[in-house]
Symmetry: C2
Subunit: 148 residues, 2 copies
């Protein structure tokens, strides 16, 4: 597995330990440098927009002092929702690499298919299904434990 | 014009004076109390996700100490994009009232039509086109001045 996806999984696992839905995201430059990484924090921040992708993108644009990251890639353990897909587009990210597909809430390969819409002004390259079963297992264990 | 939409316009006009794309948003309780209001701050915060709606929703959930606002309505001067529509849904807002339609970037009546997707788990009541020409004029003046 690529190092950035490994780090995204570590962020997801840390989120699970905090009682958050286990999703992690990492923003990496073209040279492979990690600019920002985050796990889901919707519970901790009482913020329904605090998905891992949003937090990582916001941290990266702050660091760069630019709202656009055209040389950067986002690694994330779950297919981004429409909110995060739109944020990825606004930030002009070059590439999105995600692990598990999300038929219930995904916004790239499911539902709104944001990047395929005429109202999407920048579509990154998308690579889905990397380490899909690991990401799926992590989510299943988390929700099973919460129901238990 | 309703008071909350008037306040949303004041936020939009203040955003224009700061050099931001003029969009304003207000979160109001069922009793008509303004919980939070914001103008677009993408430039000032170097944050591509800092749309007026996102900032107002985040401020309201922080104030309420709850990620959900099921008794609240959002007034906004422009049709929300897919990012903001998804955030509105995650926050379980009761109603969205917007002014100008946005054929180029809107995500409710255009493009992804987020609330109509099977992956959308909460769709608010939507009222569009309130004070449409005032909102359109504000945006047109802003972009004409930037090109000029």
């Amino acid at each position: 597995m690529s190092d950035p996806m490994q780090r995204a999984f570590e962020q997801a696992e840390a989120a699970a330990r905090r009682g958050e839905v286990p999703v992690g995201a990492v923003v990496v430059t073209a040279e492979g440098q990690v600019l920002a990484e985050a796990g889901n924090q919707t519970e901790e921040l009482t913020d329904p927009t605090a998905h891992a992708e949003m937090l990582a993108i916001r941290a990266a644009t702050r660091l760069r002092n630019s709202p656009r990251l055209p040389d950067c890639d986002l690694y994330v353990t779950l297919e981004p929702c429409a909110m995060c897909a739109a944020a990825i587009s606004f930030a002009r990210l070059r590439r999105v690499i995600f692990a598990a597909y999300d038929p219930k809430g995904g916004g790239i390969e499911h539902g709104p298919r944001f990047f395929a819409q005429p109202t999407c002004h920048h579509a990154p390259e998308v690579i889905g299904g990397i380490e899909e079963s690991r990401a799926g297992d992590l989510l299943k264990r988390f929700f099973a434990a919460r129901r238990g």
